[in-house]
Each structure stands twice: as structure tokens, then as C-alpha cells.
């Protein structure tokens, strides 16, 4: 089908405007996820730009209602590809969920004590989390994404979402308790 050049351009402009309107409001969410997955602002910048161009290329295939989840899925995948290419040398901690399943109960810090954790402490505890735990925490606690959406974005079954969140929270709690204990 041959469209006149002018109408083709108008079509592209329309598409770009529609994309910007739908996707750009979620730029913060995209950047936040990329920042936590790469643990670096400059890298997050690069990954988000790449992810958005990728999203634009496949915008026609997006027919869903949940634009944020769609975009975050692309951002996450772009991050994973980027990490494989640029940080392949880094040791990846595969967390044995069975082995650490009793962790939550071993030492339970006081709720009041946890409230004293400062930003730096939280930041470190978060960055120490294995990636698969960090991403569910970021999606749930920072983005307020539902279990169903987390399952979609991270590509895991719904049942795994809750157990992963439980483990991730347990790890965070342990880590913070240790630091707060040292400080005390």
C-alpha cells in the first residue's frame, strides 16, 4: 500500500504523539526499575533510552490497557540483556529459597528499631539483595505493582511472587537488623 508521503508522515507523527502520551508518564517508573537493577544512574539512563526506543518500535503490538506493566516488562528485559552483556563477570548469587526459609524467624528485630533505619542503610540493604529479590521489592514497594503484574513483568508464576516477596523481605529485615544492631 502506497500512501502519499505527507499522510505517511502524519501517521508517524500521530503514532509518536500517541506513544509519548501513553508511555512517557511512566518514565519515572522505568528509570527507577532500571536504576535498581543496574545499581547505577548512568547505566540506568542508557538502558531506559534503549528500552523506550525498543518500546516505540513495538508500540503497534501493544494493545493492552496496562501500559506501565508493558513498559516495565520491556525495561526489565532490556536490563537483563544489558547486565548479561556488561556485567557478565560479576558473580551472581542464586538464592536457595529452601535453605533460607527459616531466616525470618531466627532473629526478629523490634519494629521500632526498624523504623530507625536511615536512607543509606536501606540503600545498602537493597543493593545487597540478589537481583530476583530486588526486582520484586522495587516493583511491589516502590511502584505498588500488584502480584499479577509482577508475575507478568518478571515472567514468574503468581505463586512464586508471594514466596519471593516473603524471602526478599526476610533478607531485608535480617540485613537491617544486623546493621542497626552494630550501630546500637
Amino acid at each position: 500500500m502506497h500512501l502519499p508521503k505527507g499522510s505517511k508522515t502524519r501517521l508517524y507523527e500521530k503514532q509518536r504523539a500517541s506513544f509519548e502520551e501513553a508511555v512517557l508518564p511512566h518514565l519515572d517508573a522505568a528509570y527507577n526499575l532500571a536504576r535498581w537493577l543496574t545499581r547505577n544512574e548512568a547505566d540506568a539512563d542508557d538502558v531506559v533510552q534503549e528500552a523506550l526506543l525498543r518500546a516505540f518500535r513495538f508500540y503497534e503490538s501493544f494493545h493492552g490497557l496496562n501500559c506501565r506493566a508493558w513498559l516495565l516488562t520491556i525495561v526489565r528485559n532490556t536490563c537483563c540483556t544489558w547486565l548479561q552483556a556488561n556485567r557478565a563477570g560479576e558473580p551472581t548469587i542464586t538464592f536457595d529459597e529452601e535453605l533460607h526459609s527459616t531466616e525470618t524467624q531466627s532473629t526478629s528485630p523490634d519494629a521500632a528499631l526498624l523504623a530507625n533505619a536511615d536512607r543509606e542503610m536501606l540503600q545498602q540493604a537493597m543493593e545487597e539483595l540478589p537481583q530476583e529479590f530486588r526486582e520484586v521489592i522495587v516493583l511491589r514497594e516502590l511502584e505498588g505493582v500488584t502480584y499479577k503484574e509482577i508475575a507478568e513483568i518478571a515472567g514468574i508464576p503468581m505463586g512464586t511472587v508471594m514466596s519471593r516477596l516473603a524471602r526478599a523481605r526476610g533478607r531485608l529485615q535480617q540485613c537491617l537488623a544486623r546493621r542497626l544492631g552494630k550501630d546500637a
Partner: protein
Amino acid sequence: MRNVDCRQAQQLLHGYLDGELDLVHSVEMEQHLQNCGACKSAYEQQQTLRRVIGGGSLYYRAPADLRKRVRSELRRVNPPKLALNPRLRSIMSLATAAMLLVTVTWAVDRNWRGDATEAVVDQVVASHVRSLLVDHVADVASSDRHQVKPWFSGKLDYSPEVNDFAPQGFPLIGGRLDYVNHRPVAAMVYGRRKHVINLFCWPTTGQHSAALQPLQRQGYQLFHWTKSGLEFWAMSDLNAAELQQFAKLVQAAGTESSAN
């Protein structure tokens, strides 16, 4: 409603915390937490953890210039394609390229040939009209084909067949040198009652023969054909039927002469 024990409560705690439990489990958890201090304490810790993590200090907002850069990048890149898999897309672009090539080749060829033919027709018509206007139909006025044919030799790089069709009612008037299609060509002039027929012929590039093809231009009749490496144009203000009769005579004579 059944009671939830501590073990179950531990499993349901995070779902409860995130508001992801169905109504039944939610109520069960609520009741258990009211009755169990240990689980309630665990729940409160998790609530606090959620509050400190989600407090906002850990949220990284996109830098202002990132939004700008993304916008300008979007204006720089190619528009989105249909989301086909890359393999299919490459096959499709190959097919499109091939089709485009065929179309362009066909169009150019057609256009070029069409224009060329059209240009020749124009020149033939112009030549015929000119010959009548200046009342100079023949450079060599002779009904004797043995005079006309030698006259052309030395003036052309080919030797046209010259025949007299007086017995059939198309007497030879003479011969004329003309310039058509960027080359000097032979124009043989015949008469039919008061009408003049110009028969142009020159060597053609192809060796193929093309059948008689009638054309009309500015009220004139034209017949075009190619035979034995020569291109023929017969033109007159004569009616089409009679001009076709003449054209067929010329064609037949050529066969006889080449047979001789």
C-alpha cells in the same frame, strides 16, 4: 470459619500485607492476628519494613534531561514497524525489494520504449507532413524502381527494397532522403489517386518481426511493422483499409525479393 494456625499465618502474612488475599483468607488472618501475639509482632515488623522501604527516599526519579533526550531520540529514529519476527521481516523486506525492482524495471522499460516509439511516430508524421507542405515529396522523381534504388546507395548505410505497385493501383512516385530517429532514412513515395503515401524504412536493432500495427495521428493513418531486420512505416491520408492493402503489398514483395 476454620482457624488459621501460626504456620498457615506465616504463609499468608505477605499476601495479607499486600492486600492480595481473598476475602475469606483475609478475615481468617485478621482473627488470627487478634489472638496471636507472636504473629501480630511479625506482622507489625513487616508493616514497618514496608513503610521505611516505600517511604519514598529510595525512589529514583528520571532526570529531567532524560525525558528531553528520549523525546528527541523518538524524533530521530525510524517510525515503528509492524511487530513481526525479524526473520519474517527480513524475508518480507527482500520480497518487497524484489517486487520494487521488477516494477521499476518494467515501468522504466515500458516508459522508455513507449516514449521512444512515440518519438519515432512523431518524427514520421512530421516528416510526412513536411514532404507535402513544401511540395517536395521526392528527391528523385521516378516511377522506375531501378532508378530509385541506386539513388539511395551511397546516401544510406543500408539498401532499401524499392518496388513499383502500379499494377495494384499504388504507383511509385520517387524516393527521398529523410532524417528520422537520429539517422538518415529512406522514404519511398507512392501515389493512390490524389493521395500520397510515404513508406519509411530503416534497419532495426532486433531481428524479430512484428506484425502490422495500425496507428492514427492527426487524421493520418499509419502502419508499422518490422521484417528481416528492417523497420517499416507506411503513412498517408488515405483510408485505413487501402493503406493496409498497400502495407500488405510491401510485406509480400519483401518476401518475394528475399526469396529471389
